[in-house]
């Protein structure tokens, strides 16, 4: 029974990693842009929610809705005025610029909020659980996982069912021909990053409610997200969820055997998948 409980915990933890990774996966899938500051932008989102919660004294879920438009705007502006200038045949400029952005964000947060750990208070929700048979499953992990599925389902609906999504895919295939269709690639990319930041603020909500955070934790979170994207298969959002679940399950089983093995087990699972399926489990993109 303990193993079943561990398995369920691992799967639900995968939902959190998928939320961290979905924005990254979206941006990479459409623009081939690796955003090394994605983890730090999630932390920025967590501080935004924290500020709104502490000033207005409202529920963190409501605070997330209030922060969402600002986060979209942040992503839009970032892409429009900074990241679009780095896109081209050379893959190095986006890496260097987002790496620099990551360091700048961490230091700005440190300056503004100090290195103290913070937490978004979710009240009774934090410890609530529901009994399933002889097991008891935490409401918070369950909610995280459900949100991850909802977010990925929603993103897929946008990408595969709307005119905007068609423009995303067309621009991703061939920006020059897309411009012949009246699509302005730079505007499409700005919307994509805005959308990725909407996902990031949702990830930030769960990050802040489930564990404490401080300005420096972005890059560590980013590693799990990257692993989820890569083993899931580049460009596939459901693959990203699957990748998150694999890392989550590996980590909880590792921890169940020996608490020191938690992180290592996740990385080993990542390497094992890469060894067996170098292109990931559900690769969509050809290149």
């Amino acid at each position: 029974m303990i193993w079943l409980e561990t398995l369920i915990q691992g799967i639900l933890l995968g939902g959190l990693y998928a939320l961290f990774a979905a924005g990254l996966s979206l941006v990479f899938g459409i623009m081939r842009l690796v955003n090394l500051a994605h983890g730090d932008l999630i932390v920025v989102g967590a501080y935004m929610i924290l500020i709104i919660v502490s000033i207005l004294g409202i529920n963190p879920f409501v605070a997330t809705f209030i922060a969402a438009p600002g986060m979209f705007a942040l992503g839009w502006l970032l892409q429009r005025f900074v990241l679009n200038r780095t896109l081209g045949d050379d893959i190095l400029p986006p890496l260097l610029v987002t790496f620099g952005l990551s360091i700048a964000l961490q230091n700005a947060l440190l300056e503004g909020f100090s290195a103290d750990s913070q937490r978004i208070n979710a009240g009774a929700l934090e410890t609530a659980s529901i009994p399933v048979g002889s097991l008891s499953i935490g409401i918070m992990p369950l909610l995280t996982f459900a949100t991850a599925i909802l977010v990925i389902f929603g993103l897929n609906q946008i990408i595969f069912r709307t005119a905007l999504g068609r423009a995303f895919r067309a621009t991703s295939d061939d920006p020059i021909t897309a411009s012949l269709m009246g699509i302005r690639p730079s505007s499409v990319f700005a919307i994509v990053t805005g959308l990725a930041m909407l996902v990031a603020i949702i990830a930030a909500l769960y990050l802040g409610m489930r564990a404490s955070f401080d300005p420096s934790i972005g890059p560590v979170r980013l590693i799990y997200a990257f692993e989820a994207v890569i083993i899931g298969g580049l460009g596939s959002l459901w693959g990203t969820l699957l990748g998150g679940i694999i890392i989550g399950v590996a980590q909880t089983f590792g921890a169940a055997i020996n608490p020191e093995w938690q992180i290592l087990a996740g990385h080993l699972a990542f390497l094992a998948v890469l060894l067996l399926r170098p292109r990931g489990l559900l690769p969509r993109a050809v290149d």
């Binding site: 005119a163 068609r166 061939d174 021909t177 411009s179 012949l180 269709m181 699509i183």
Partner: protein, 237 residues
């Protein structure tokens, strides 16, 4: 006033000059054919008109307004659509999605709808949900033409439609041109196939080494003149 007028257009790829003082005019309802060998500058000319290559603003004008320095999306918004060389369908999109993306920047009253495109090329209706990569070359070319028409252009630029296709397919595609024109589009075709070009065109321009070497109505041009303008040598030499 010409619908589209190109006046002493010079075009560059970096330091390399690809076009030298090119003059071309397209009138309402007309079909212009541009012929020439590989590397003569035909594709560069179309890319310049479509805004993929930016040029001196005044060197290209549409309905009397300069458009030479506009970006491709702005040129399309004015009603100039291109069927690019090599078809360039979007591989992540189905046949129908490829057609729909053509209507992304929908201009006022749509003359062309999905239904009308399927009337024009019935085979596409059967394949509407297939991946565009699953089609034959001729079918892909039909999608590329349909996709351009979906923006309801008044100028349609066609780059090497016959490239890599069987003659019977090329003939079939060109046989639909009267319908396309009657829907309100004037056409510029770039062709290596001289016979085909001369058959459809009201005016023929022949290009060589980045310049126009000959132009006129097909009926006024002799085979020898075209040959000279195309290859730089006559038939008998």
């Amino acid at each position: 006033m010409s619908l589209l007028s190109i006046q002493s257009l010079d075009a560059f790829y970096g330091d390399f000059q690809a076009l030298f003082a090119v003059n071309v005019a397209l009138n309402h309802g007309e079909t212009v054919a541009i012929i020439g060998a590989n590397g003569a500058g035909k594709t560069t000319l179309l890319r310049s008109i479509a805004g993929v290559l930016k040029n001196a603003h005044g060197s290209i004008s549409h309905n009397g307004e300069a458009i030479g320095a506009l970006s491709a999306d702005a040129v399309l918004a004015r009603g100039i659509a291109m069927v690019p060389e090599g078809r360039k369908l979007f591989s992540s999109l189905t046949v129908e999605e490829n057609l729909l993306i053509g209507a992304y920047a929908q201009r006022s009253e749509p003359e062309w709808t999905l239904e009308k495109i399927y009337d024009l090329f019935p085979v596409l209706a059967e394949k509407r949900h297939d991946a565009s990569t699953m089609l034959s070359g001729g079918q892909q070319q039909m999608v590329a033409i349909g996709r351009a028409l979906m923006s309801n252009p008044d100028v349609l630029l066609c780059d090497e439609i016959s490239l890599g296709l069987a003659p019977v397919i090329v003939k079939k595609i060109y046989s639909e041109f009267p319908k396309i024109k009657s829907a309100g589009a004037s056409v510029i075709v770039v062709e290596q196939d001289i016979t085909q070009a001369v058959t459809v065109a009201d005016t023929v321009y022949c290009m060589m080494e980045g310049g126009v070497t000959l132009s006129g109505k097909p009926s006024d041009l002799t085979k020898d003149q075209i040959h000279r303008a195309y290859f730089g040598v006559g038939v008998d030499e």
